[in-house]
Amino acid sequence: MGEPVLEVDDLVKFYGDFKALDHVAFKLERGSIFGYLGQNGAGKTTTIRSILGLARPNGGRIRLFGIDPFKEPLRVFDHVGYSPELPTLQGFMTAYQLLDFTARQYGLTQQSRTTRIRELLELVGLLDHRDKKIGKYSKGMVQRLAIAQALVNDPDLVIMDEPTLGLDPAATVHFRDLFQNLIKDGKTLFISSHLLDEVQRLASHVAMIHRGHIVFQGSLNDVLSAFAGGSIIDIEVMNVSPTLVAALRNLPYVREVNVQGNRLAVHLTSDTDRRGELTTFLFQQGATILSFTHRNLRLEEAYLQVLRTGGVAPAS
């Protein structure tokens, strides 16, 4: 039971001379939501396709529930659901037909198919469109259906490549709840995404891949606290000058200042509250403060930090 649901070790994948995955390794514990982050072309989809046997890795070891998926695909795929990136489904089928076809592939009986399909269509909000040809679906509807078909077999592990791409805001919220409910049922989720806010709300664990290397992995809290000590002060001032920014950067407790218009995000080196010192300092510099808030680091900022530092957490 303590065995990881998914274990990837030393995964290497070449496309010709191009090394898309360079000794990728991570683990998914049962019941976690694993956020897999990385820039465009970092290797997220390649990793997922390798895990599923759609791409043949050049080296490394993959274990799903402790089983080698290349040796025993039948045992593994009974317990895995997969929703691909920008899914394309059989356009000539209706949603109902596709789910029925999928359920047959898993060997579900006629009776359990009927109830299961109804349940899933309802869950993803497609019940009204069940008899429409998938070819006539909108992008978000296809995405919803792709998620539904990934759940047909009540899988223990659901792997989703950018599942919220193309979903409208209400659907995004709905699916966030849905994913959280899946975890309550004891499932494990692997989600690759660019939407860092989304991942921050959902994930319990994250890994970041950068140019085929895993640059960071751990629990969400680990990531957030490992970088920038976990806190930031957002300041809006009337007149931002380069001298002001330079002066801020020179403060011993400031690691970094990001400037956007007249907003400054001041990354602190530690969690210590520096609001008092900082307001005094700004006042001395002659800056007019419009707003001032202390907050925790966002995943997005941690992510950008990771990219800058190449995955090495700055000494704090």
Partner: protein, 274 residues
Amino acid sequence: MNYEWRRAIARRKVLLLIIVTVLFEVAPFVVFTTLREPTIQNFIRAFSDIAWLIGVLAPQGLFIHLTALLIAAGATAEEYEQGTVDMLLTKPLTRIEYMTGKFLGGFTLAGFVSLLLALLGIFLARVTFGPQQFLEYAPLVWLSSLYTLLLFYSVGFMLGELYRRSGHALITGVSVLISSVVLTGILFFAFTLTQDKFYLSLTKVLPSWSTGNLPNMVATELFLKNRVISFLQFGPPIEGTIPEAAAYVLVYAVASIAITVARFLRSDIPRRTI
């Protein structure tokens, strides 16, 4: 397998094939009944009792193989083009099972077209020329025709898997078929000039010889004996035996399937290719 049929029906391929089949079968009978010249009428009378053979054998030269190529070229390639293969292969299904299903699904479809052609041919012969002889041999002749389908079907299937593009696979497959016919003509010409039998043996190696002539050879062996219907012989008269022709079909089919499987098992499943 069932899936492959649904896919074909949905893509209106089946409808297209049925329409073309009907047109193809009706045409020769219309021609035979409208040509009123006495010499032609005499000629027709000479074989009107076995006119059903026309229906069964006429597609053998080109048409039925084009059909096989059309179906086979898209069997796996269209799944890549549309990106639907991912969904199929991440289910509890081995790659070999997937391939087998694809191969058989498409082949039964091609076989269905071939059966339709044969039945329609027999029916039209009966209607235009009255009672037919030797119909008891029709199933065997048809089966031999079905067997020859294996060659171009397997070649098309292989090309689809190699290119992962149905269009490219189809064009290449058709080129192979047509250049094989053209080459046969050139080689036969070389033979008439030199009388060197080597050129004849070369023509038999080409895929069009066995696929074009095996059913005719079977019919000759079974009941035609010395009644040669020259226009049902595809290409120049080249002597050969039934086992020889059957072996060539088998060799091509097995080699193509082996290449397909080797490629499929080793390579990445491509992301959507169009």
